[in-house]
Structures are given as C-alpha cells and as structure tokens.
C-alpha cells in the first residue's frame, strides 16, 4: 500500500505530524529505528495512542529514493508514500579529549536517555561538562535518578545575549531558573569557563581533569576530580542523511525549509531538529505546521509561535559555540576517531603529507571511515584541518547487512 504521508522519526515533531495528519484523514506511516516511539526527548514517556497511523518501529531507514508515485523509504521493509516528512532529530555533538574513549564517558544525551528511557542510574558519581543549556536538565535528571553530580561545567561564559533572549520567553526563563534552583539545593556547583579536558582510568573512568578555560577555550589551572562517569555534550548535530540523499538544500548543518516546513525538493518536508536544533516545543509546532502545509493554510498562531521559538534557538546557538581552544586539550596519543582508532598524531602526519581537507584526511588516515560514518569525529576532524564542519553525504544512512540489500532486490523484482 502507498501512503499519502510517510514520517521518518517518531520524536516530538514526527509524532505530532503523524497524529495531526491522521486526524485530517491522510493515510500515514510513522517509521522509527527504535522499538518505541518518542525519539530521544520523549524516550521514557508512555506510548501515545496513534489512531489511524501505521506505526513501523525497529525500522532503520538507510535510504530514500524518488519513485514515480513519490518516495520509496528503505528500511528492513520498503515503504512508499507521496509525501515524505523527515523528522530524524539530532545526536550529541562531541569533541575529543584524552581518555574520552574510556568506558564511563557518555554523551550528555546518552546519560539522559539512560535515565529517562532505560530507568537506570548511569553512574554513582558524575561530572557533567560541555556547552549549552541542555547540560542543566541533564544534571537535574541525573540528580533525580540518585546520581551524585559533583560539578556541572559550562565551557562558555553565556553572554548578555542569552539573558536577553531568556527575558523575552518567560516560560524558558522559568525553566532555566527551576534547573538552577535544583542544582543549588543539591549543592552542585555550576561553573562557567570550565571543562573536562581529560578522563583517567585503566578500563573505566576513575576521575577527570578539570581546567579553567580562557574565553577561547585554552586550558589553564588544572585540578582532578574523582568520579566514575562523565557526561559530555557540546550541542547537537542534526541527522540530515535522508534530505542530503534527496538533494535538499542545506545551510550550515541543517535543512533549509520555508515557514511551512517545505524543503527545496518538491514533496519533501522537514521538521524539528533536522531543520536546526531548537528543542522539543519547536519540533511539536513544526510537526503540526508540516501537515497544515499539505491540507490548507497554517494558523497564524502556529507560524508566530514557530518564529518566536526559532529566534530563541538562534540566540542560543550564538551563545554556546564550540571554540577552537579545545585542540590544546589533545595530546598526540589522543584518539580522535573512535571507530578507526585514529590518533591526533596520525592526523598530524597525514596533514604533513598534504591532507589539508577532511576528505583527503579521511582517505589517508581513515578518520570517519568506521561504523559511525564520521558522526562522532566529523566535527573535530573538519576543525583540525581548518574547515567548517559540513554534513557528509552518506549513500547508506545506516550500516546494513548484505542480506538486507539482497532482500531489497528480491522485493524490487517481485
């Protein structure tokens, strides 16, 4: 059966879109890689009732193609639909540091997912570090799970711009204050201009080195903190593999859409973090807008709400950049690419041989050639060659087995 609308990604944007579309009488498929709906943000939430939606879980979409009637979405089965909505979200942006490949170092989003989605305590004593407002809810989530959070380290020094942006959105300001109060009650220090610049341990984390940072993130004044687990996050990277496969226009790290979530490619919509990281409330609004763009005029209220949340996201983005000084945290032995175990030394050697851009570097020294397809090291590798990180084209959005491919062929020939 062919659907009117296929939604890839069952997070806040995708769930909203699927629900609204079904209510409007569209035939909708909602596809997600995980076994439950909710995406990263709603991971632990109760499974919503999705009347009239064909929910396809455990389906890892590895490619999308144009077909005569619209689009073919390939996972372990193939779904066809006239319109495609990409709501694939984002993953944590991480930067390397000595020891970041030790078990016990987790991404901030991962630490939160382990509490909210998996109901486990990720560690006994933890340090939370990185940049961006997301560190605060992560720290509070960990506290509530019974973790002893020793410190929260914000590498930037949030600018007056941030305070101004918060002042314009009272709900966000109240949320931020609530987190700050929880941390203060638990006597957890929140230090700006600090970072975890190394993790130590034999087979698992036993402690970290914390440094003060210059405004450009060069470290000085080091000390060690004992802990068994670290959560690090330096913002998020939108997962744009599917729109890139279809040739959708991008700006920076995200997909360009108009105010009704239409990408540059006819029939392809995008909503949520994939159109620029802005958080769950924004994703919900955009999921609804995407459907309105199919069935009529979007309500002005939704358009205004989207514009307001996007402005806020832009202020955040400008307040919490990744600054170049992190390179000074690395030693020659620091692993930069976790999959292929490429050290900074190997990268420097390749650069000496003439690899001055990420692609040549990848061919010569292999960073980004492994399982994760450069999702973890891509940002760092681009920066190390003096380039702006750019989304990489992945003909296969996920590693798949040859069996998956042959099955796909059989379906085609049937």
């Amino acid at each position: 059966m062919s659907y009117d609308l296929a939604v890839v990604g069952a997070g806040p944007a995708g769930l909203t879109a699927a629900r609204v579309a079904a209510k409007r009488g569209l035939r909708v498929a909602l596809i997600d890689a995980y076994a439950r709906t909710g995406g990263q943000f709603l991971r632990g939430a109760a499974q919503p009732r999705l009347t009239g939606v064909d929910v396809k879980l455990g389906q890892r979409v590895w490619a999308v193609e144009r077909s005569s009637g619209g689009f073919e979405i390939h996972a372990s089965t193939t779904t066809t639909a006239a319109i495609l909505l990409v709501a694939t979200g984002a993953h944590d942006k991480v930067i390397p540091f000595p020891g970041w490949d030790l078990p016990g170092v987790l991404t901030a989003g991962g630490a939160q997912a382990l509490v909210k989605g998996e109901r486990i305590r990720p560690g006994a004593e933890m340090v939370v570090a990185g940049t961006g407002p997301f560190l605060l809810p992560v720290a509070v989530t960990l506290l509530e799970a019974g973790v002893r959070v020793k410190e929260v380290l914000e590498a930037n020094r949030p600018a007056p711009r941030m305070a101004a942006a918060l002042a314009r959105i009272p709900s966000k300001a109240a949320e931020a204050l609530g987190y700050a109060r929880r941390l203060a009650e638990a006597r957890v220090p929140y230090r700006t201009g600090h970072a975890v610049v190394a993790a130590h341990g034999e087979d698992s984390v036993e402690g970290v080195t914390v440094a003060r940072l210059t405004p450009g993130w060069r470290p000085y004044a080091w000390r060690t903190v004992d802990c068994d687990t670290v959560a690090v996050g330096y913002g998020f990277t939108p997962q744009v593999d599917l729109p890139l496969q279809l040739g959708c226009a991008l700006t920076g790290d995200h997909v360009v859409t108009d105010d009704r979530q239409r990408t540059s490619v006819e029939g392809v919509l995008a909503a949520g973090e994939v159109t620029g990281v802005a958080g769950a409330p924004s994703a919900v609004v955009e999921g609804a807008l995407a459907v309105h763009s199919l069935v009529g005029e979007p309500p002005p209220r939704l358009l205004a709400e989207k514009a307001r949340l996007r402005r806020f996201a832009r202020a955040l983005d400008l307040s919490y950049p990744v600054r170049d000084g992190w390179r000074d945290w690395l030693t020659p032995d620091t692993v930069v690419c976790r999959c292929e175990e490429v050290t900074l030394r190997a990268i420097d050697e390749a650069r000496d041989l003439g690899a001055h851009d990420p692609r040549t570097l990848k061919l010569l020294a292999r960073p980004g050639m492994g399982w994760c397809q450069g999702r973890m090291c891509g940002h760092a590798v681009a920066r190390l060659t003096g380039h702006e990180p750019a989304p990489q084209k992945r003909p296969f959005a996920q590693p798949i087995t040859l069996a998956d491919l042959t099955l796909h062929d059989r379906e085609d020939n049937a």
Binding site: H91, D101, P103, T107, L114, I120, R121
Partner: protein, 78 residues
C-alpha cells in the same frame, strides 16, 4: 524482570530495557575490545549513533547494545 546471559553470567533486565543499559546497570561497562589497540568499549552515545557498544546477540554479530531490547534467554557476548 527478565534474565539474559552475558558470557555465561545471568543479567537481569527490566521489560523493554536495552541490553546495553542492563549491562551498564549491572556494572559491566565494556563488552568488546577495539581491533587495533585492544581498548575496552561499552556505551558512549547510548542512542544508536556511535556504534561503540556493538556485541553479539544469539549468534548475530555487530548488534548495537543500546538499540537492542533484551529478551529472556538471550545469549550475549563480545
């Protein structure tokens, strides 16, 4: 609660929990070593993006521990 086996050891998991989370909660923080350096690996991104947490489930290799829901009687190893 259900139970699966990791290298012969019984591991408890909640219904719907991933193998990776259950191992991590049981204090098992690494379940494979890297090809070149022999370094330990376990959970890192915990959302299916980094592929650090690969393991073998009932003979099927290269499964992401964080994305594979534990089932009673699963045999899990590196």
């Amino acid at each position: 609660m259900i139970e699966f086996r990791f290298e012969g050891r019984a591991i408890a998991a909640e219904e719907g929990q991933s193998i990776g989370a259950a191992l991590h909660a049981a204090g098992i923080r690494s379940w494979r070593t890297t090809r070149f350096g022999g370094r330990p690996r376990g959970l890192f991104c915990a959302i299916g993006a980094c592929f650090d947490c690969l393991l073998t489930v009932n003979g099927a290799p290269d499964q992401r521990a964080c994305q594979t829901v534990a089932r009673a009687g699963d045999e899990v190893g590196p």
